[in-house]
C-alpha cells in the first residue's frame, strides 16, 4: 500500500508553546523543546515526522496557526 509522507513546519514567530499539538497528536510526533525561542516560549519540535498520518489535528487546532502539515511525496509499493 502506498504510504504518504508528510513534513511538519512550526512557525517560530507565531508559536506560543501551549503544547496542545504535543498532547493531542495520536502518533506522538511532537516533543517539547528544551530551548526557548526568541520570544521566550518552548516551541515543540516534530521529531517523529516520519510517523505522521496526515490527520491534520495539529494544523486545525493550533490557536496561532503556527503548525503547517505538507504532503511531500508518495512512496510507492516496495514489494
Amino acid at each position: 500500500m502506498a504510504k504518504k509522507d508528510y513534513q511538519i513546519y512550526i512557525d517560530q514567530r507565531l508559536c506560543k508553546g501551549c503544547d496542545i499539538c504535543v498532547e493531542l497528536c495520536g502518533k506522538s510526533v511532537f516533543t517539547v523543546s528544551d530551548k526557548i525561542n526568541q520570544k521566550g516560549y518552548y516551541v515543540p519540535v516534530p521529531v517523529n515526522a516520519s510517523d505522521c498520518s496526515g490527520c491534520m489535528i495539529c494544523e486545525l487546532i493550533c490557536p496561532e496557526m503556527a503548525v503547517v502539515v505538507v504532503e511531500t511525496e508518495t512512496i510507492g509499493e516496495t514489494a
Partner: protein, 273 residues
C-alpha cells in the same frame, strides 16, 4: 515555511493577542479553513464583533471588512449591514457575555426575524477580558471572580434557546471537535437565514485558573470527557446529563428570510403609491 491561510489574516499584527492555549485562535484557524474550502472572497464577507476576547477573532486579525461595535450590540449592527448590503455575507463572532448576556434580546429577536447572518458565539463560560466575572453561560456552582463561593445560577442553553426562537440552523460544538466544527461553520455560511453555532472554547487565564484547569489542553480534555453527541442522548438519564455538554446540530430547517420579506413589503408599497 508559513501557513498557506495567513493570506486571510493581517500578518503584521501577528502573533495574536490571545493568551497561550486560548480557544479563540482555534476558532480563527477553523474560520479561515472553512472560508478557504468554501472558496469565498474575504472582500465579500463583513464580520461584525462586539466587545470581549472573542470579538478579537475577526477584528483586527481577519483581512476583510470588520465592524468592531459596542458591547452586546453586534447583531443589531449586523442587521443594519445585511439590510443595506444583502449581497454580502455577514458574520458575527462574539462571546457568551456579549451575545447572550448584554445583547441577549438582539440574539433572540434576530433569530425570530430570521435575518440572513451567521453567528458564531464563542462561549468561554465567563467575561474573560475583564477578569473572569460570572456570565449567563457560567455553569452552576462554579467559582468565578464575582461568585467566589460558587455560582448560584444555572446557565443558559444558548443553542437550544436560539433554535426555539426561530433560527434555521443551530448547532453546538467545542474547540475539541475541530472537524465537526469546521463542517458546521461551512454549513452555517451556506445557509440562507439566521445560522447559529455555539462554540465552547477554553479560557485558561480567567476561567481555568479558578477551577484548577490551568492549561488550555486541560480544558480541552474536559470537553472531550464531558461532551455527549445529541444522537446518543437517549442512552443517558437526565441526572447523568446535568453537567454534560450536548454537542451536535440542534435544528436545521427553512423559513422565510427577513431581508427578502422586507424587500417584498417595500416593493408592494411602492407599487401601490
Amino acid at each position: 515555511m508559513q501557513h498557506h491561510l495567513l493570506k486571510y489574516l493581517r500578518t503584521e499584527l501577528l502573533p495574536t493577542a490571545f493568551c497561550t492555549g486560548c480557544g479563540c485562535g482555534t476558532v480563527l484557524n477553523l474560520f479561515c479553513h472553512a472560508i478557504d474550502e468554501l472558496k469565498l472572497d474575504p472582500d465579500d464577507i463583513i464580520s461584525v464583533t462586539g466587545i470581549g476576547c472573542s470579538s478579537w477573532i475577526p477584528s483586527p486579525y481577519f483581512a476583510g471588512d470588520t465592524l468592531h461595535t459596542t458591547h452586546g450590540r453586534s447583531i443589531a449592527f449586523a442587521t443594519g449591514v445585511k439590510v443595506m448590503k444583502p449581497e454580502k455575507k455577514v458574520v458575527v463572532i462574539a462571546g457568551d457575555g456579549d451575545l447572550s448576556g448584554i445583547g441577549g434580546n438582539h440574539l433572540i429577536h434576530a433569530a425570530r426575524r430570521n435575518i440572513d447572518i451567521t453567528v458564531l458565539l464563542v462561549n468561554n463560560y465567563v467575561y474573560g477580558m475583564t477578569g473572569g466575572q460570572v456570565s449567563p453561560a457560567t455553569p452552576y456552582e462554579t467559582s468565578t471572580t464575582t461568585t467566589p463561593y460558587g455560582n448560584p445560577e444555572h446557565p443558559f442553553e444558548i443553542a437550544e434557546l436560539v433554535a426555539a426562537a426561530g433560527s434555521v440552523y443551530s448547532a453546538r460544538w467545542t474547540t475539541y471537535h475541530i472537524f465537526h466544527l469546521k463542517k458546521a461553520i461551512k454549513e452555517a455560511m451556506n445557509k440562507k437565514g439566521f445560522a447559529f453555532i455555539e462554540i465552547f472554547s477554553q479560557c485558561p487565564t480567567s476561567y481555568g485558573r479558578r477551577v484548577g484547569l490551568r492549561e488550555g489542553i486541560d480544558i480541552l480534555k474536559e470537553f472531550k470527557k464531558n461532551s455527549v453527541n445529541i444522537k446518543n442522548l437517549k442512552k443517558f438519564t437526565e441526572e447523568e446529563l446535568e453537567n454534560k455538554i450536548v454537542v451536535g446540530k440542534m435544528i436545521e430547517r427553512s423559513r422565510p428570510e427577513f431581508v427578502e420579506s422586507l424587500q417584498d413589503v417595500n416593493k408592494k408599497v411602492m407599487e401601490e403609491t
